[in-house]
């Protein structure tokens, strides 16, 4: 089993499940959060290597979570991959100070794109 743990923050359960299919096949440990509050709890309780983050979440957007993580010091350094329908409205320049390493466009991504980006970050 890989020692790498990925947190998927995504409010569509079936899309989370789809990400997990890909990640588990490559032996990543996968944790799930459907909203920012649950994500914070999981981040507090686990050692994470990467966060895959959707932008529009139930209860708040990813930006509130990014701000919150920044205030936490060490866990604010966990690399983040944003996976969103809104990629054309976001810029990596604006988000990189919050630990965002790349933005994946959900509308054009291939299932393996997540793996490629995680490997780019971790290896």
């Amino acid at each position: 089993m890989s020692s790498f743990t990925v947190l998927v923050v995504e409010d569509d359960v079936w899309l989370s499940e789809q990400y997990a299919r890909i990640l588990k096949k490559s032996n990543y440990n996968v944790l799930f959060a459907s909203n920012a509050l649950t994500a914070i709890q999981i981040i507090d309780d686990n050692k994470l290597d990467v966060i895959i983050l959707d932008v529009l979440l139930t209860g708040s957007t990813a930006f509130a979570l990014l701000h919150e993580l920044q205030s936490y010091g060490d866990i604010g350094e966990i690399p983040i991959i944003m996976c969103t329908n809104l990629s054309s409205d976001l810029s990596i320049e604006n988000l990189s100070p919050y630990g965002v390493k790349c933005i994946i466009d959900k509308t054009t991504m291939k299932p393996s794109d997540i793996l490629v980006e995680i490997k780019n970050i971790l290896l």
Binding site: D11, D12, V13, W14, L15, Q18, R21, I22, K25, S34, N35, A36, L37, T38, L56, L57, T58, G59, S60, T61, A64, E68, N85, K106, T107, M109, K110, P111
Partner: protein
């Protein structure tokens, strides 16, 4: 938690959709299911998938397509509201809700949700158009399925209000339970105050707007109650006096 203890809002000031804005909102609402269908379809190209996994993916594609098609059907019906006449008739809400639960059973099961009907002991009737009311409750149910945590029960509630003059049909979903003090302290940090309380944050509000249009046609109104652990979306309709018909 009782419905009346939540944060209660009539949906009166939600987004308005006309012309281009409705097209944009529809595109936004359809994007998520299409993204999911595309991802799942691409996954099926993986020859290493076990049969049981392939079956699950195919079921998810099918149910997600049906959800998207319901939205397109509601949009079409909404656009033609002014041209059509909708008969209002006495309806047994319990029977209607039971039919809806049977209709949505595959999607409830596939998403690991239980659904239960909370109705009154004594039967009642309301005045509505059967097709429009069915669409509203299915819309609320789809919403609840998407936004509540897996393994939680979704409740369809039937209650009398306004001294028995109004029948309320509500769909209650359950999210993570937050202790009151934590809810208070995080609200400012995690919830955008400028965001309309009437819509889900990632939603354009188009579904609710269509539901409110359908409710208007039936002289009803829709609203939402925010609970500490979820929401109840509801429609209020005039009670029928023809109880003897049941």
């Amino acid at each position: 938690m009782g419905a009346t203890r939540g944060e209660h809002n009539k949906i009166l000031d939600g987004p308005q959709f006309t012309g281009l804005s409705s097209v944009v909102a529809a595109a936004h609402e359809l994007k998520s299911p299409l993204v999911l269908i595309r991802q799942l379809s691409l996954m099926l190209e993986d020859s290493d998938l076990e049969i049981i996994e392939k079956k699950r993916i195919l079921q998810q594609i099918s149910l997600t397509s049906e959800q998207a098609l319901r939205l397109t059907s509601d949009l079409t019906r909404s656009a033609r509201l002014s041209d059509a006449l909708f008969d209002l008739e006495p309806i047994n809400p319990q029977q209607l809700c039971e039919d809806i639960i049977n209709e949505l059973k595959p999607v409830f099961e596939a998403r690991n949700h239980d659904v239960r009907l909370l109705s009154r002991k004594n039967p009642l009737l309301l005045i509505a158009n059967r097709d429009l009311l069915r669409r509203i409750i299915i819309n609320f149910s789809d919403n609840a399925l998407h936004y509540s945590d897996s393994d939680n029960t979704i409740e369809i509630q039937i209650a009398l209000h306004n001294s028995g003059n109004t029948v309320r049909l509500g769909v209650r979903d359950y999210g993570p339970t937050l202790p009151g003090d934590i809810m208070k302290s995080i609200k400012g940090r995690f919830f955008d105050k400028s965001m309309s309380i009437n819509t889900r944050p990632q939603s354009s509000g188009l579904g609710l707007y269509i539901a409110s249009q359908f409710a208007d046609v039936m002289n009803g109104s829709i609203g939402v109650i925010r609970h500490r652990d979820g929401s109840t979306f509801y429609i209020d309709l005039q009670a029928s006096r023809q109880l003897s018909l049941i």
